[in-house]
């Protein structure tokens, strides 16, 4: 196996798994870690893996390999990190082609020279490749204002499990030729193919970025404010509720007591100013305080929020509920997890995403109590037509609680897709929903 792989990618780009701890896959040490230098090399490796039934885990920098259900074993990790070139940036078209191994931070720096950006803010953008972000469709607090990865991907190059290379979409911003396979691969968690190149549409970078903190009232009052804001003409790009305990963790220098609703605007200077004025007026009517968060503080604060949780709790979950349910869920979460340590909660109340992290003393008893609470919360999410996923958790917890939860009647369709695209089940087998 070693020799074969060295012949394909070159001796220096094949490493033993036990010498590359950053590519340990959720506790499983792979036999080898490869760093191919081209999509053709990735294809050649997969062709071999397909024949030989090697289990392959696609990777970028290896920072997100513990997302999903654990794999039973891993033969080969294929990292895209050497594929990191921005291939074609057409500033006048606001489009770009980039290889999958480029980090989001580097990418935004490069295209930023032309006043453009890809407005996504998943955790740790320096350590996340674009390929991985697309594969897991990771996102952060800016989702409210800017949407998801799928909204920006206009084309992909995919190496399929059997080593054939396909392209989906194209390089133009509007395109309905053929089925929309971009949607199939974005968010497929490396179970259907390896993304080697992405074409994005971009946005002009906003001139001004300002954050305001609403405080001084009970949760119900903040809820009223949030409701008023989403109903108003104002267009916050992020709207995050931090309960009091979380404020202390994420924003230790906070001048206010109690829970905080953060409101972020990005736009031309006069437009942000206008919205800030409007915000003041509307919120004053509700008897809440509004304070402007200084630029530097805001930067650190958003960083803490987006890299959630502070000081990495033991378990992090992500919930999705209709946004009208977000506040009631926050109350429920705090009650349900009252026995856990260091509970942090961030609710994106504009889009219904809620992040929760908790720690527990490492005993059988506390762990199963935490798992029971998470199960209860999952049921509450499902009752609201939403879900709860384990975003980060030790294997001991994953053994007791499926990472994803039930997908229901679509499981058959999803398994059929997996079967069609990876008939030998070599790509991340078992990591995703429904045993995929």
């Amino acid at each position: 196996m070693y020799n074969e792989l060295e012949a394909i990618v070159g001796k220096e780009w094949v490493r033993p798994g036990n010498a590359t701890p950053e590519y340990t896959v959720d506790g499983v040490v792979p036999d080898v870690v490869l760093f191919p230098g081209s999509a053709d090399e990735v294809a050649e490796v997969l062709r071999r893996a397909h024949e030989a039934r090697w289990i392959v885990a696609p990777a970028g920098f290896g920072t997100g390999l513990d997302l999903g259900n654990p794999l039973a074993k891993v033969d080969v990790v294929i990292s895209t990190r050497r594929l990191d070139r921005v291939l074609e940036h057409e500033p006048a078209d606001l489009t770009v082609s980039v290889e999958a191994g480029c980090s989001l931070a580097t990418f935004n720096e490069i295209i930023g020279e032309h006043g453009q950006w890809l407005p996504l803010n998943p955790p740790r953008p320096e350590q996340a490749t674009l390929g991985a972000i697309a594969a897991v469709e990771d996102f952060g607090s800016l989702r409210l204002g800017f949407g998801l990865t799928r909204d920006y991907v206009i084309g992909l190059t995919i190496v399929q499990a059997d080593g054939t290379i396909i392209k989906s979409g194209g390089r133009v911003v509007k395109n309905v030729a053929g089925y929309d396979l971009n949607k199939l691969f974005v968010g497929s968690h490396g179970t259907l193919g390896i993304i080697t190149q992405l074409n994005f549409k971009l946005r002009p970078r906003p001139e001004v970025d300002s954050t305001y903190a609403l405080s001084g009232g009970a949760l119900a009052r903040l809820e009223e404010a949030a409701r008023e804001l989403v109903r108003s003409e104002l267009a916050p790009v992020a709207l995050n509720l931090l309960p009091a305990g979380t404020v202390r963790r994420c924003w230790p220098s906070s001048p206010v007591d109690g829970s905080v609703l953060l409101v972020r605007f990005m736009d031309l200077e006069p437009v942000v100013q206008y919205q800030a004025d409007q915000l003041q007026q509307r919120v004053a009517r509700l008897g809440l305080d509004v304070s402007t968060v200084g630029a530097e503080t805001a930067m650190a604060l958003w960083r803490a929020i987006d890299d959630f949780p502070v000081d990495g709790g033991d378990v992090t979950v992500r919930m999705s509920v209709p946004r009208s349910e977000a506040f009631s869920m926050v109350g429920l979460i705090e009650r349900t997890l009252s026995a856990a340590d260091d509970v942090q909660v961030i609710a994106c109340v504009g889009d219904g995403t809620i992040w929760v992290s908790a720690s527990y003393e490492d005993t059988e008893f506390t762990r199963s109590r935490l798992v029971a609470s998470l199960k209860a919360l999952r049921r509450e999410c499902e009752r609201r037509r939403g879900h709860l996923i384990l975003y980060r958790a030790p294997r001991a917890v994953k053994r007791e609680l499926d990472v994803w939860g039930e997908v229901g009647a679509t499981a058959g369709l999803m398994r059929a897709l997996k079967q069609q695209f990876d008939p030998h089940g070599i790509l991340n087998p078992g990591r995703f929903v429904a045993g995929i």
Binding site: D93, R171, V172, A177, P270, H387, Q420
Partner: protein
């Protein structure tokens, strides 16, 4: 009497199954009239249970079928394959739920696009995808085609506004794809279904996103004495990082036709091109962008830039644009409505080559299109009774497609592939790419009964 029709009458009421040849004529084609075939029957279900029952019945007998909305499609997507039964969804036209709190609505597939926006307008909301056919086309059809419209430049296509779908799969099973208020888990089956052109099943319930109406809207009409000046203006507006709500262009041929029709909008008939530029959002943003856009227009030699002074004038600017296809229809017996996309910075070059191609084939071409996203509609009036002329039209169309693809573009931006563009698919996709699409289809419809023969060219792919 066809026993299948007999039994369909049994499943639905007899008067909801059409089978007489003269009743079927209307259902032979969509809005592209040169693809025609008579269906075996047309049925009108009124609920998802009826859709599922009909689909199960047909699929058990291996009889092909296809969903149909309003039949305004422009790629032959709703043209039946031999022996197909059409499942017409026009009667499933109720708005089931409006939920402002979560900015969503749940509709049946036969709801006419504009009816939804009308239903939520008083509350200050709208449904963003606005195909020019929006007073006729259905939201189910929009989902199937991933339709666009003038305002998709800023707001995105149909796929950006659909949260979830209830679908009757081709074997009659009912599933929910995507969420219904929150995100769904697993592969994005919702996204995969949107744009599948009626081949993955029948959407019976659609959860859409509603947007708040922008507080300020300004609509500009700018006219230019050369095509190049207009196209450079478009490229420059986009490159400047301005995101207009809409940025539409009409050339001299189109202006002439519009002004001679009931849609006359007061466009200057001596201009080489006009642009309709709409900016919306918060007032200070719109004020600033209007000023920047006017500057860019002037810098590129616009003769006049008019800003609509009131709602009536704004509606008039738009009336000509929205009526343009209709106006063209009057010029000649037939009209080849084309749809292609190019990178928008290439507009000046590509457009001038399109004129050259038309001239080469002795044809007229009238361009009316979504300039801001590079989505061209070079339309060619012709007389279908003249086979030699039709041949020239087809050759010119192909050359235009090849040109757009060479420039890095696509063969369709919003009308879909259907039957009409099936032969162009290999211009942009390899056999392996097409094979991957076939595999996806196989998951949704293993027996290939739902709207067969569309999108994927058969001779290239073994499957169907």
């Amino acid at each position: 009497m066809d026993p299948v029709i007999e039994q369909l009458r049994h499943l639905l009421d007899p008067d909801r199954v059409l089978s007489e040849p003269d009743e079927l004529i209307v259902y032979e084609s969509d809005a592209v009239t040169y693809h025609k075939r008579r269906p075996r029957a047309v049925v009108f279900p009124e609920s998802r249970e009826e859709v599922a029952a009909v689909v199960r019945f047909l699929s058990e007998r291996g009889i092909p079928f296809l969903p149909r909305g309003a039949g305004t499609g422009l790629s032959g997507g709703a043209v039946p394959s031999p022996e197909s039964v059409i499942i017409e969804l026009a009667r499933m036209n109720r708005i089931l739920e409006i939920d402002y709190e979560n900015q969503r609505a749940v509709v049946e597939p036969g709801v006419i696009n504009v009816h939804l926006s009308q239903a939520v307008a008083d509350a200050g909301y709208f449904y963003a995808p606005d195909p020019s056919s929006q007073t006729a086309c259905t939201i189910g059809g929009n989902v199937a085609e991933n339709s666009g419209g003038p305002h998709c430049l800023k707001y995105g296509m149909t796929t950006n506004h659909i949260l979830g779908l209830e679908v009757v799969l081709p074997d009659g099973e009912i599933v929910q794809l995507g969420g219904d208020g929150a995100d769904a888990l697993g592969y994005d089956l919702r996204g995969l279904f949107i744009g599948s052109e009626g081949m993955f099943g029948i959407a019976t319930r659609i959860t859409v996103r509603l947007l708040r109406c922008p507080p300020t809207v300004e609509t500009l009409l700018a006219d230019f004495m050369t095509i190049e000046a207009a196209t450079h203006t478009v490229s420059e507006i986009i490159a400047a990082g301005i995101i207009p709500a809409a940025l539409e262009m009409m050339d001299k041929a189109t202006i002439g036709l519009v002004e001679a029709s009931i849609f006359a909008a007061g466009y200057p008939t001596d201009a080489a091109a006009v642009l309709i530029i709409e900016l919306d959002g918060l007032e200070p943003a719109v004020v600033r962008d209007v000023a920047r856009v006017i500057d860019i227009c002037r810098a590129h030699g616009a003769r006049e830039v008019r800003v609509a002074q009131n709602e009536t004038e704004r509606a008039r600017f738009w009336a000509g644009r929205k009526g343009a296809f209709g106006a063209m229809g009057r010029l000649s017996p037939d009209l080849m409505i084309q749809d292609a996309v190019i990178p928008r910075s290439k507009l000046p070059r590509v457009l001038s080559q399109i004129y050259r191609i038309a001239e080469h084939y002795g044809l007229q071409v009238a361009n009316v299109f979504h300039a801001g996203d590079g989505n061209l509609h070079p339309n060619i009036p012709y007389d279908g009774r003249d086979p030699e002329m039709l041949e020239r039209v087809k050759r010119a169309s192909r050359e235009i497609m090849e040109l757009c693809v060479r420039e890095g573009g696509s063969i369709t931006g919003e009308h879909g592939v259907g039957l009409d563009k099936i032969d162009y698919m290999p211009l942009i996709f390899s056999d392996a790419d097409l094979e991957a699409m076939v595999r996806v289809r196989r998951c949704f419809d293993p027996r290939g009964l739902c709207n067969p023969g569309k999108v994927i060219p058969i001779r290239r792919c073994r499957a169907f």
